[in-house]
Amino acid sequence: MTDALRPPPKKDPQKRTVTPTLPPTMRSRAALGLSAAAAEGRFALQSCAECGAVQYPPRDACSRCLSTGLRWRDVDPGGTLLAETTIHTTVDVYFRERMPWRTGSVQLDAGPVVIAHVHGDVTTRGRVRMWNLLDRAGQAVLVAMPEGRTPHMEDDPQLREMTADPKHRRILIADARNPNAPALARALKDAGAAMLIAGEAEGWRPYPHRDALAALGVDLQPMDVTDTASVKKLAGEYGGKTDILINNARFMRPGGVLARGDTAFARDEIEVNYLGLMRLAQAFGPGMCARAQDGVNSAAAWVNILTVEALSNDPAYGCFNASNAAALSLSQSLRAEFRGAGLRVMNVLTGPTEDDWYQPLPPPKVGHAALARSVVEGLQRGLEDVYCGDVAKDLVERFRRDPKVLERERTGGTA
């Protein structure tokens, strides 16, 4: 049984902060398919388009029929632990600091035998359920989990290395004024967050859910993502204890290029949605990177909430979507820059949300509670890409099928 994780004691300032190190990072190109699946929390393996054989480790040709037509496909995550070991000694600097480490050999119901990390609650020769997770290096690793839930299973020290679980972590919500802030705060609090801070722009200006935030115990601090000085000031005070940063700041107005007479709104959209992200990252990023492996409440993740239309524009919100496309692209750069520290970037791409500026659109829309649930679940599974709501899931599927066809569909031209 997993021991419940205890809230960490206050940090002893004389103690060394663990220098971020990474588990082995190099992978073949074929193996990156597993990382792509892990980024979304899917357990997928290559299977042969000709003979159907499921393959592992990832490869370039089928080991049964030599076909080079291998496709990544979700497969049955069930399996049985064939053998196991607890490793006590290694020459790798990352694992050295985390010994002992349990691994095992798992016979998958889908066919192959895999070497996997083994959760502490898996029994000897027991049945397991495979999770495909991203490790601190941002690469996919397979984790053999107990078949059913066990008490405190998320607290397993090996598993926690692969996730960004909010439990016992201190979380900064960038924009208290965003109507989704109370739902985010509630969900994170329920997930065990130790402390919630929210940035409040223009504190003199009232907004309806301020009392709700206060009632949830959220510490409201002045910060406006368009004002570098205010971002730096808050980072100076709270940067050293920000374990998860949720960038929910958003400025949006409807309309494409011609619907607007000037660039005023576009400038605001870029200021908040794109440069706001950059300001936050420049102020909070270095400190979070330095603390990315600082024990139970290490810095763990950076979350951006973006519209899924960043992938493919819809002219009804054309300029806003463009600013989100810029932010999405910037997040990829940030993800690479954070990788050396093992800090992850999670983008939650949502369909139209239940708020004022999307009012003319028909349902389904993403409610605040559903968005908050996606954020928390994504952190608990250590995901990189979360598609929240039916519209987002539909759009990304069509995007993967053919981005150009999708562009035509969205910009007119289908019956």
């Binding site: 064939l82 053998a83 290694t90 790798d92 070497i115």
Partner: protein
């Protein structure tokens, strides 16, 4: 139906040499290979240009290959080979060289294996060993081969009711042998108590189940029997030899090796049986694999090695002399030379040149190789039966 392997009539092995191992070396693989080559040539009274075949096994030559070595060492071979097969490299080198001599592609082949071991060599070698290992085993705790063998050992123990004492008996006997080998890296006696209480490495593997990486080199010459007679060199004959790669792919975990596919032909070729061997040399990077070789080469049934060994004495003077130089477990693992250590010692044994580790009246030896944990199992297996002239 595959055709039968040809024998190696008229081809012999001679001039076995071991360059004494060192725990760490500031020198390169080139240095170690040069020393082994020089020593084997000296043993036969030859000069570098007298050999026309050259076979090399090494992990740490980068960025060179044996091609670069010909220029580096001043050789002009008409037959050149590289053996990237780790623990199976000795048997494979001997098979290929013997075929080359038989075919007239070369008259005298020098087979050399050597590696250096600098500080951090081992970690670097592990980090770039194979693509499957890089993708699918290192990221899982980076336990190296110890973690792989821990899984096999765990499964072997439950499948066949083996105990740690069963493995310990083999390790303890090899240490006793090593104490008679002045060049063995391990010089202290090992008791069963020491073995059982050693610090854990990757359960159930503990310290004395593991080899110590060292720098070192091994070499021998392959030539025609006439050539050896003319030069008055003591030589061993190759009664039979087999190799196999990636056998038993459907076994979920490795409890047997490719030897099982070829052993009948090996004993047929050699016209003898396991019981006729005066000594055996198995590849012993971890004791479990030595037990599997003893089973898979027909000394006992599958899973019966623990019982089989319980009743036997594995030391030099015992009734089942095994890894007489101390093997890798006690003499050290010098990279690819770990694939040669048993073969070179066996040549010494059947030619009566083993000195302090000599098994009395040794005329027949089995040598077995096992190499390359590409992902979850060793892929290369080989074995040879050597006979005194």
């Amino acid at each position: 139906m595959a055709r039968r392997r040809q024998g190696y009539d008229g081809v012999v092995l001679t001039a076995p040499v071991t360059v004494p191992y060192q725990r760490y070396s500031i020198d390169t693989a080139h240095f170690w290979i040069a020393r082994a080559l020089r020593a084997t040539l000296d043993a036969a009274g030859l000069k570098p240009l007298d050999i026309d075949g050259f076979s090399v096994a090494s992990f740490t030559l980068f960025p060179d290959t044996p091609v670069g070595l010909t220029q580096h060492l001043g050789l002009c071979p008409r037959w050149l080979d590289t053996i990237p097969m780790g623990g199976a490299s000795g048997v494979v080198a001997l098979r290929r060289a013997a075929s080359a001599v038989q075919a007239g592609d070369a008259d005298i082949v020098a087979c050399v294996a050597g590696d250096t071991n600098q500080i951090d060599s081992f970690r670097k070698l592990l980090s770039s060993f194979s693509r499957f290992a890089m993708d699918a085993s290192y990221p899982y705790g980076f336990g190296g081969p110890s973690a792989n063998f821990a899984l096999l050992t765990d499964r072997y123990m439950t499948e066949f009711n083996a105990t740690r004492e069963d493995f310990g008996r083999l390790c303890v006997a090899q240490r006793a042998n090593a104490l008679r080998n002045p060049h063995a890296v391990m010089k202290k006696p090992l008791t069963m108590e020491d073995y059982l209480t050693a610090r854990p490495i990757a359960d159930p593997i503990a310290l004395f189940d593991c080899v110590m990486p060292v720098a070192g080199a091994e070499a021998f010459l392959v030539m025609t029997e006439d050539e050896a007679l003319r030069r008055n060199l003591p030589f061993a004959r190759i009664a039979g030899a087999i190799e196999r790669h990636n056998a038993h792919v459907d076994d979920p975990i490795q409890l047997r090796g490719g030897w099982t596919m070829d052993r009948d032909e090996l004993w047929d070729m050699a016209a003898c049986a396991p019981g006729d061997m005066d000594l055996i040399q198995t590849y012993d990077d971890y004791p479990v694999i030595s037990l599997m070789q003893i089973e898979d080469l027909g000394f006992c049934d599958k899973g019966a090695a623990p019982d089989f060994l319980r009743d036997r004495d594995l030391t030099i003077d015992g009734d089942f002399p095994h890894n007489t130089s101390g093997g890798q477990l006690s003499a050290g693992q010098a990279g690819a030379a770990g694939g040669f250590i048993g073969l070179v010692e066996a040549i010494r044994q059947v030619t009566g040149q083993a000195g302090p580790t000599q098994v009395k009246g040794a005329r027949r030896a089995l040598v077995s190789g096992f190499g390359m944990i590409n992902y979850d199992r060793g892929l290369c297996t080989g074995a040879a039966v050597l006979e005194a002239a």
